[in-house]
Subunit: 345 residues, 2 copies
């Protein structure tokens, strides 16, 4: 029996059969999903830095043990196609949703763990980092010194103050990832770290997680060679195990969990969001379309009709972030969640 | 006859046959490689912005018609797996080699067209943009103003001055790309734009170009759907036509052309570099290993032994860019090239 392949539930053995059974380590009624996920962590090693990263997160959670803490995930995960990664499959995401949302969570009194794709947008610096020529275009020389161009002073001061306040009050913990494997191991470890907060922990899973990956044993050691005039490249990718169920049931019992559903086809957005909610039994799916994600999203929740949040044309013209509407709507729901869980103290 | 498939050379028709031939537009003796490349451009539309981008480049080249101009390509190209791109295959490259090299070309008196992957590193701002928290960590508030932290003043002033000199003297043209298709169309159009400079044009092709792509007609319109507990994803990619030959022969006759060969396996680096040089008949292949690319590269040239350029341990410790050694070695070769081409005026 290949333990890597999830088995269908087997019938319970009779007493006689049981005595004849040779391998007693084979579990009875193994739920397919659990084995799948266990196998993932057994077969894909954690990143080397994980332990020290998590010990930092542990300190952060201890510091905020009476506060609300949100884990915001942001940016796309990569799937290496080679061991010494030259080529990889990436999921498009600049990290705008996550970085912007983190700022509004901070404004609403949350401490934020920002688990982000390295070099994707970060809270506060996002206002400058992906501009045409990051940074230097905002500066000028005056009396032999580099100074900020006066026309950017006012806005930059406001951004800098918020950033420094978050740093001084230890409200923002930045943790990076690149690959799907780093992401999954870190998410699992952070979930356990957040358990003491019970319902005050909030998961806001905005990262664009790969659906398919190449298992470790199939990744070639060296760069895939192409031939001149050459052959096609055939790739076979396995589905990434669905971890949300495990997160809801085991890793973060008591926490409020929000996932995102990004689609490009508007006709399936609501059904896909509802499906995800039913499959994982969590509290909220935020559906959005790639084309309109900066001006409208839909909240899909248990026992409630779909609730759209939209910028008005005036808000859109004024450059209002839709996250300034999304986050307060979440905070309201989180307050109810904490109250109903009865462990707000 | 399917014109998308490169045909083998056909024999010349006899006079009688010629009169009976119906389709006189079918070319005789079509070289397979040419058709391949033609087909690429016929079947994959140019980006909409191309015309206006090239008209800017045309002005830039006119402005520098008596100077040396280098086209530096930098960063990795992407291969979209969906039409409304959520997922794509990427080639790893932060753009360090290209951005750093561009600075040293500027210091050596060249005008630089910097064709780069959007959001990859740029000349000068590279010193700050991929730091942990781009930008804001270098700033502080003083008397209600944002100012540069004194400990970064000196270095930043030196970088800012070089950047502003390049801007004021119109020495640096930044042109972005994301997909392999955008890259190939832009490279072809720029090559033609650079033709009037003859041997004073230099191509420094440091971009990490995808070897495989999904042809336009096979790209699905919407996001690939994954199924719970799901199926494998099978992908079939075609080899990207080899354009370097065409660049050398047709697009940029007279220019000096340098390509890069990046490998992870040291045992094949030299043979792969030599092979590329012989296949495309250009002037220089710079070989480098992913693991050691910041401290050693090898020049592979026609009729000469491989020439290694290495940082000494002392240079490495002092943080010297290896590009500060590479670029002067290239400039020397370019001077010889111009002299031998006899059109330096």
């Amino acid at each position: 029996m290949d333990s890597h392949i999830p088995s269908p539930p087997t019938r319970r053995l009779s007493t006689g059969e049981r005595e004849n059974a040779i391998d007693r380590t084979i579990p009875l009624f193994p739920p397919a999903v659990e084995i799948d996920e266990h196998n993932y962590f057994d077969n894909n090693d954690p990143p080397e830095y994980l332990e020290s990263m998590i010990s930092g997160a542990h300190e952060f959670v201890k510091f905020h043990k009476y506060n609300r803490v949100v884990l915001v995930t942001s940016g796309g995960t990569t799937v290496p196609l080679e061991n010494q990664t030259v080529r990889f499959i990436d999921n498009f995401s600049a990290g705008t949703r996550g970085a912007t949302s983190a700022e509004y969570f901070l404004e609403n009194g949350y401490a934020v763990i920002f688990l982000h794709r390295q070099f994707s947008l970060l809270p506060y610096s996002r206002h400058y980092s992906h501009s045409t020529n990051c940074f230097l275009d905002f500066m000028e020389e005056k009396n032999g010194k580099v100074v900020v161009d006066p026309k950017y002073q006012e806005e930059m001061l406001s951004v800098l103050r918020k950033y420094q306040t978050a740093k001084e009050k230890n409200l923002l913990l930045l943790l990076p990832f690149t690959t799907i494997n780093q992401y999954l191991h870190t998410l699992r470890a952070l979930s356990v770290t957040l358990q003491p907060l019970k319902s005050r922990a909030l998961f806001y899973l905005a990262a664009a997680v790969s659906d398919f990956f190449v298992p470790l044993h199939r990744i070639p050691e060296h760069k895939i060679q192409s031939k001149a005039g050459g052959n096609k490249l055939l790739m076979s990718l396995d589905p990434v195990p669905k971890f949300l169920h495990r997160l809801v049931e085991k890793w973060a019992p008591g926490a409020m969990i929000i996932s995102f559903k990004l689609e490009t086809d508007s006709s399936i957005l609501l059904s896909k969001s509802r499906q995800a909610l039913e499959r994982y039994s969590h509290q909220l799916v935020i559906g959005n379309l790639l084309q309109t994600r900066k001006k409208e999203v839909v909240f899909v929740e248990p026992d409630a009709p779909a609730h759209w949040i939209r910028l008005t044309p005036a808000q859109e013209a004024a450059g209002i972030d839709i996250e300034s509407l999304i986050i307060p709507a979440i905070v309201k729901r989180h307050t109810v969640w904490i109250k109903e869980s009865g462990n707000s103290a």
